[in-house]
């Protein structure tokens, strides 16, 4: 059930990207999709009743959650912020040239 909720978040992002007219709203849609995928990866690695994957002194053999998806998600988060920086820079430049964020008015190319 949790996976479906996570997927619902993904769909909201996809809907936002496909429907919205404002460039910044489209960017937000992409961010929402990235959030949902990160959440999904961490959910995949979650183990009920386990602890964070950090070995502490004195503790013997403990039950850890899956550390691999966590490493992947750190990478994915950083990729997300890098993409965001570039796309916001592009948005600002597009605004500079067209003086609008409206994608239906940004139409010099035929598509």
């Amino acid at each position: 059930m949790l996976f479906f909720l996570c997927f619902a978040l993904f769909l909201i992002g996809l809907y936002c990207v496909l429907i919205k007219k404002n460039l910044l709203k489209i960017v937000m849609g992409i961010i929402i999709m990235e959030y949902s995928v990160n959440l999904f990866l961490i959910m995949v690695g979650y183990k009920a009743g386990a602890v964070a994957p950090i070995v502490t002194e004195g503790a013997g053999k403990v039950n850890f959650v899956d550390p691999l998806p966590q490493a992947l998600v750190i990478t994915a988060i950083v990729i997300g912020i890098a993409t965001l920086a570039l796309i916001v820079a592009l948005c600002m430049r597009v605004y500079d040239r067209y003086k609008t964020f409206d994608i239906t008015k940004i139409r010099r190319l035929r598509g």
Binding site: M1, L2, F4, L5, F7, L9, L11, I12, L14, Y15, L18, I19, K21, N22, L24, K25, V27, M28, G29, I31, Y35, N38, L39, I42, V44, G45, Y46, K47, A48, A50, A52, P53, I54, T56, V65, D66, P67, L68, Q70, A71, V73, I74, T75, I77, V78, I79, I81, A82, T83, L84, A85, L86, V88, A89, C91, M92, Y95, T100, D102, I103
Partner: protein, 176 residues
């Protein structure tokens, strides 16, 4: 339900995302998005991923700042009204519904929540400290077992920043 907190958090995230998509004011959209991000960080913490929670919070703050810069550059504080063409909406809705139905059937095949397979990770959990010397197993994966990924990730950041520099240049072509 055992994971009632998680259900609440994800519901909050969905509500926040819906608000962010539908609100009229761009600045409120950005702030609702930040709510989603912060809830995500708490959810990470709940799922025993403190590393990710820290990263998510700090990155979220920066993303918020960057988005606010972008919003405040334009004079359009209010979102642009109206949708794209009706045909596009129809096709999109149909596509999203088909996609969702297919996903609904497929996601049922996932292993149940809270019991990962850990085919490969078992090795990291058992041998990680011994083989890399790092007590934080996430770091041991990030910088030793899969350090090559981290190189790529650092390069992506570099690429994006170089790209942002290039895109924000005032003059692209030299005048003849």
């Amino acid at each position: 339900m055992p994971e009632i907190e998680l259900y609440l958090l994800i519901t909050l995230m969905i509500v926040g995302a819906l608000v962010a998509v539908h609100t009229r004011y761009l600045i409120s959209a950005v702030i609702s998005l930040a709510v989603v991000g912060m809830a995500l960080a708490v959810a990470f913490l709940y799922m025993q991923a403190p590393d990710i929670a820290i990263t998510q919070i700090v990155v979220e703050v920066l993303a918020l700042v960057i988005l606010i810069i972008a919003v405040s550059i334009g004079k359009e504080v209010v979102d642009i009204k109206g949708k794209r063409e009706t045909l596009t909406i129809g096709v999109t809705a149909l596509f999203v519904v088909i996609f969702a139905l297919f996903a609904y059937r497929a996601l049922a095949d996932l292993p149940p929540f809270g019991s990962p397979l850990m085919t490969v990770s078992q090795h990291y959990v058992e041998e990680g400290l011994k083989q890399t010397g790092s007590a934080n197993l996430v770091t041991s994966i990030l910088l030793d077992f899969r350090a090559y990924d981290t190189l790529g990730e650092a390069t992506i950041l570099f690429t994006a920043i170089l790209g942002a520099f290039a895109v924000l240049r005032k003059i692209g072509r030299k005048a003849k």
